[in-house]
């Protein structure tokens, strides 16, 4: 029996939903709509902590995501590194994910430290993948040189100018982690914040925010989600893929809201029809 228009709308085939979603995502990406970019207090706070770093401070940046979540998390990490490289700080980059080095290569190509006059080994260094999760965090905190004998490219740490005098967590002013894993985000609190009191900034996926909120602002000084990459790019004046996606976010979310409203109207109309018919 053929479906009535109301029944059809109420149980719209997913192919139609997906097609509409593709259009809503693709059009703003191809032709940006120029919708306003509100900058949230969380992103401003993140930027303020980076701004407040003293000259010569050491910052540990942990690329705690794999290739699967690279599209979601990389824009925020790129913006963070742009912000850090604009200052006179030393950036030590590491990863707890086995495919983290691939993410690092993609990230550093986009950031281009050379454009800031930064030199590898003097201003920034990449330690590579350190296996062990929280055990690795603890090992790096206690004794960096023992935990990581060489950097990603095989150079012994004691031959890298910026790491010669660094022993562990107590030499760092800040730890920044961008991750889709709650275990990792909370692990840094247990292994770096609680024992050493290091300033910790965490960027997670939006759905993880409620579980990280209890730690903010006592243990996690700045907490935000990766969807705010566009705001951060706008704030620091470095537009990238994040800001391009904001219009697509808006249109897709509005499409979903409208779709749900229409579905509910169809549902109640059908219900009323059946009651009237009965």
């Amino acid at each position: 029996m053929a479906k009535s228009p109301l029944e059809y709308i109420e149980s719209l085939p997913r192919e139609i939903i997906y097609t509409i979603l593709i259009i809503c995502l693709a059009v703003p990406l191809v032709k940006p709509l120029g919708l306003p970019v509100p900058i949230s207090s969380r992103v401003k706070e993140w930027h303020q902590y980076v701004e407040g770093l003293p000259d010569g401070a050491y910052v540990l940046v942990s690329v705690d995501y794999g290739v699967g979540s690279l599209p979601a998390l990389e824009p925020f990490m790129v913006a963070t590194l742009h912000d850090l490289f604009e200052r006179n700080v030393k950036v030590v980059i590491m990863t707890l994910y086995s495919d983290g080095p691939i993410c690092y290569e993609s990230l550093i190509t986009k950031v281009n430290p050379d454009a800031y006059g930064k030199q590898y080994g003097v201003d920034y260094v990449f330690l590579g993948y350190i296996p062990g999760g929280e055990t690795a965090m603890k090992a790096v905190a206690e004794n960096l040189h023992a935990a990581v004998p060489t950097d990603y490219y095989g150079t012994p740490l004691n031959q890298i100018p910026m790491l010669k005098d660094i022993s562990g967590a107590s030499d760092f002013a800040m730890i920044i982690s961008v991750t889709p894993s709650g275990d990792v985000a909370q692990g840094w609190i247990r292994q770096w914040v609680t024992p050493y009191g290091i300033t910790y900034m965490s960027c997670v996926l939006a759905m993880m925010m409620p579980t990280m909120e209890p730690y903010y602002p006592a243990q996690v000084k700045a907490l935000t989600d990766a969807g705010r990459a566009g705001e951060y790019e706008y704030l620091i004046g470095k537009p990238g893929s994040g800001i391009r996606k904001l219009d697509a976010f808006s249109v897709a979310h509005i499409m979903l809201i409208i779709a749900i409203i229409i579905a509910n109207i169809a549902y109640f109309a059908l219900k009323a029809q059946k009651k009237g018919g009965a």
């Binding site: 794999g66 889709p180 709650g182 759905m207 993880m208």
Partner: protein, 259 residues
């Protein structure tokens, strides 16, 4: 001798252990305790029965399982559910497909599967080499492989109990699309809402851990479930008292628990 700050944790652990042993002993001696039904676990037989009627297999997954990580207890809970599912499938002669992510559970799954068929008196019908399928230890490769199994083999029932990450909704939506009844459970907070809105039956948090005790239907095991609920009541009381005292300006409970 006990590390500073962990004394109350130690006391709590010993207390829970002792209470569990007392409760199990009392139940063995005849004390009866009634528990609410856990709909998701009761629905396992319904799901397998549906698969038997439709002549389609049952699919099981324990998510991104690992026996050496933080979520090892949840993996063990998932294996307990698989044992029951395998037994039901042996009883109703329904093929079961266990999509494995972590290689550590392969030998255990093989054993559970063979034991299930042995218990049902059908050891010759066990085909672990077809039922237990290692797919991948990469999250999204695993997700893609499970989707492929769903689309090609069209299971009538999908049972998911274990640690799930981003792939949870991929599984839930795909199996919904192929018309499978879904029983899903996890203790990972982020994924519970996805299962709740898409699954037919949901096991939330501790219900997954209770599965082993619940499904064996051994009265003694339910002693531990009783202690679990007792622990929750103590947590609630401490929480309320602590909130009131903290509002009144004293952190006595907090300091006491930090001993």
């Amino acid at each position: 001798m006990i590390v500073s700050g962990r004394f109350m944790e130690f006391v709590a652990l010993i207390l829970i252990w002792v209470l569990a042993m007392i409760a199990i002993d009392k139940i063995k001696k005849g004390w009866t305790v009634s528990f609410r039904r856990i709909a998701g676990l009761d629905a396992l037989e319904e799901a397998v029965g549906r698969a038997a009627e439709m002549g389609r297999p049952v699919h099981f997954t324990s998510g991104l399982n690992s026996l050496t990580g933080t979520w090892a207890p949840l993996t063990v809970a998932g294996l307990a559910v698989f044992g029951e599912v395998a037994r039901l499938c042996a009883r109703y002669r329904v093929p079961v497909i266990y999509s494995v992510y972590g290689t550590q559970v392969i030998p255990i799954a093989h054993e559970l599967y063979k034991q299930a068929f042995l218990a049902e008196g059908r050891p010759e019908e066990a085909k672990p080499e077809e039922a237990i399928r290692y797919l991948s230890s990469s999250q999204f490769a695993y997700a893609a492989a499970v989707q492929g199994i769903a689309e090609r083999e069209r299971p009538a029932a999908n049972i998911m109990v274990g640690p799930f990450y981003a792939e949870s909704l991929i599984f839930a939506e795909t199996f919904y699309r192929v018309g499978a009844i879904q029983v899903a459970g996890t203790a990972r907070l982020y994924q519970i809402p996805f299962f709740a809105i898409v699954g037919d039956y949901v096991l939330i948090g501790e219900e997954c851990y209770a599965a082993g005790a619940y499904l064996t239907k051994d009265p003694a095991h339910t002693g531990s479930l009783f202690v679990q609920d007792l622990g929750k009541m103590v947590a609630i009381v401490l929480g309320v008292i602590g909130a009131l005292l903290t509002t009144a300006g004293t952190k006595a409970i907090v300091e006491f628990l930090k001993l």
